[in-house]
């Protein structure tokens, strides 16, 4: 049953081998035409010649980061980063390693090390170690023929998840994604399946070495990394995050917040998708994964930093916009063309300013009662509407 995963890995290696350094022809340069090409993870992207050049530079930077990480493995020992997590030791070297690691992760984990580093630092490895070895295999084989509202929606969404991707959009890709999503829907029946998770799980599959590891990454994400109830029933956690985000925008980017408010533009109109798909539908793949590098190490506050950065980067242009359509175009043009992850992450973590997980947790606690009351009130109003009608 894991045969599929091997095929995928081969394919992933093939991409990397096949991708030549793209040299746009002089004609293309002159005409400034849009070209289509495949990125590091097999996604077809459209961009102009500048974008191609940026992607080539990013590839070079990724290689450079790889050398940095490997030399650290050599000097500090394999799995040195795991020692930074042990809470019992308070040795100086551990603290130093911790600071080094945080900085390194913000600069990006090389794709070849990503599966291993994510798996241990996110807590997925620990989660997996608490259940019997055969857990995933038993779970997926026990539920493979069951039909629930969740499985119906999953089956409906499989061909609609990154359609056209050379591995995800194949019978093997669909079957693998299905096992992960269906398996999870039975692990947590409160979540079941929520649209959006298909994109998250698909990208996890492309990164992780095995589908089982992708499953555990999904589990740790939903159970420990993200806010509670982000994907359950009425998405209450997602509503909470949106309110927290609006408050943060007012604090960190007051001019933009005031301008958009005057336009009666609710930022949640564009941000909801970011928080539910963790940027996988908006940013280029390597940029998304760089965000996830930080997400899995520093927690969900990283999502706020990145979302704020997208607004911040466009401050002047946004202040000139007076139509909703223009605001959305500015934001979308930016997100789709952020091929250089550092451009985004520098703003997100150096310019936005420091935010702690504690601050975010406090903000969430503050917003939660109002969100729950509002959702409850809405539900009651809807029920009464439907009853009057019967």
């Amino acid at each position: 049953m894991y045969g599929g995963t091997h095929g995928k890995i081969d394919l992933a290696i093939e991409y990397q081998a096949q991708i030549p350094i793209l040299r746009p022809s002089i004609r293309a340069r002159r005409a400034n035409i849009t070209v289509k090409f495949q990125d590091l993870y097999g996604f077809t992207v459209e961009g102009n010649v500048d974008d191609v050049n940026v992607l080539n530079e990013v590839r070079e930077k990724v290689r450079e980061q790889g050398r940095v990480w490997w030399s650290l493995e050599a000097s500090k020992g394999v799995n040195w980063y795991l020692q930074t997590q042990s809470s019992t030791t308070l040795k100086f070297s551990v603290l130093v390693n911790g600071i080094t690691l945080k900085r390194l992760i913000r600069k990006g984990i090389p794709p070849s090390l990503r599966p291993k580093v994510w798996f241990s630092l996110s807590g997925a490895a620990k989660k997996k170690s608490t259940v019997p070895e055969s857990y995933y295999k038993d779970l997926t084989s026990a539920v493979q023929d069951k039909v629930t509202p969740a499985t119906k929606q999953i089956d409906h969404d499989l061909p609609r998840t990154f359609p056209g991707h050379p591995w995800l959009d194949t019978p093997e890709g669909h079957a693998t994604l299905r096992r992960v999503l269906v398996g999870y829907s039975f692990r947590d029946s409160d979540v079941g399946y929520c649209q959006g998770l298909n994109y998250v799980a698909a990208l996890l599959l492309l990164v992780m070495k095995t589908e089982e590891d992708a499953f555990w990454m999904l589990a740790v994400l939903l159970e420990d990394v993200l806010v509670n109830d982000c994907y359950t029933n009425n998405l209450s956690g997602c509503h909470v995050e949106q309110r927290v985000f609006k408050d943060l925008l007012t604090k960190k980017c007051p001019r933009i917040a005031a301008h958009l408010e005057a336009m009666e533009f609710d930022v949640s109109l564009v941000c909801t998708e970011w928080f539910l798909c963790l940027f996988s539908k908006s940013l280029p793949s390597e940029t998304t994964l760089r965000v996830w590098d930080v997400l899995f190490y520093e927690g969900a506050k990283a999502l706020f930093n990145v979302a704020l950065a997208i607004f911040k980067m466009n401050e002047e242009e946004l202040l000139m916009a007076h139509h909703i359509g223009d605001v959305i175009n500015i934001i979308q043009r930016t997100t789709h063309h952020l091929f250089d992850p550092d451009e985004l992450l520098t703003v997100a973590f150096d310019k936005i300013g420091f935010m702690t997980t504690t601050t975010i947790s406090k903000e969430r606690k503050k917003q939660e009662p109002a969100v729950l009351a509002e959702l409850d009130q809405r539900l009651r109003r809807l029920n009464s509407v439907n009853e009057d009608d019967k």
């Binding site: 929606q153 409906h156 969404d157 061909p159 609609r160 998840t161 990154f162 359609p163 929520c194 649209q195 959006g196 298909n198 994109y199 994907y231 359950t232 029933n233 009425n234 998405l235 209450s236 997602c238 509503h239 009666e264 609710d266 949640s268 109109l269 564009v270 909801t272 998708e273 539910l276 798909c277 539908k281 139509h323 909703i324 359509g325 959305i328 959702l375 809405r378 109003r381 809807l382 509407v385 439907n386 009608d389």
Partner: protein, 202 residues
């Protein structure tokens, strides 16, 4: 800005309906003239714009295409709030999607703005052999509820442009003002006069 006889108006339009009914496909057909068999599932909502000319007026639709899964329902008010038009989409081969469409109609009637132009679109009309929702009964339902109804096919493009054109025509701002006194400031009227003018227009 608007020279005599030539007007440009912006109108917010929202699409609501069950997952897989074809909301995104209708928008893609209308905005880009394309059809894709497997359209990426929409999360939250996607934004598009497209213009329609009605006589001497250009209507620019600002379109919000929303996610269909039941649990996304709690996000919908953000998108339909202040909408000039709402298109409620169901799949003619799926009875359940029609029931959900009716729920949307009820919700908009209760929560929405009474000026919102509501249209009901029975999509996938090309799949006539698999039809589960009869056209005639739906027509009656639509009339009873003051909805503009059309069966559409995003795949074959049948009635797609027509649907948006008909909505544009029905926008209150394109209708000739029925009663100029309706514009008079409330202060100038006694309460009884106000009640009279309100009832005569209904």
């Amino acid at each position: 800005m608007a020279s005599s006889g030539n007007k440009n108006i912006n109108s917010k339009l929202v699409l609501l309906g069950d997952s897989g009914a074809g909301k995104s496909s209708l928008v893609l057909r209308f905005v880009k003239g394309q059809f894709i068999e497997f359209q990426e599932s929409t999360i939250g909502a996607a934004f598009f714009s497209q213009t329609v000319a009605v006589n001497d007026t250009t209507v620019k639709f600002e379109i919000w295409d929303t996610a269909g899964q039941e649990r996304y329902h709690s996000l919908a008010p953000m998108y339909y709030r202040g909408a000039a038009a709402a298109v409620i989409v169901y799949d003619i081969t799926n009875q359940e999607s029609f029931e959900r469409a009716k729920n949307w109609v009820r919700e908009l009637q209760a929560q929405g703005n009474s000026n919102t132009v509501m249209a009901l679109a029975g999509n996938k009309a090309d799949l006539i052999d698999a039809r589960k929702v009869p056209e005639e009964a739906t027509q009656t339902y639509a009339q009873e509820n003051g909805l503009f109804f059309m069966e559409t096919s995003a795949k074959t493009a049948t009635n797609v442009n027509e649907l948006f054109y008909e909505i544009a025509k029905r926008l209150p701002r394109l209708q000739p003002a029925p009663n100029p006194s309706g514009m008079v400031l409330v202060d100038n009227q006694s309460p009884s006069e106000r009640a009279a003018s309100a009832s005569c227009c209904s």
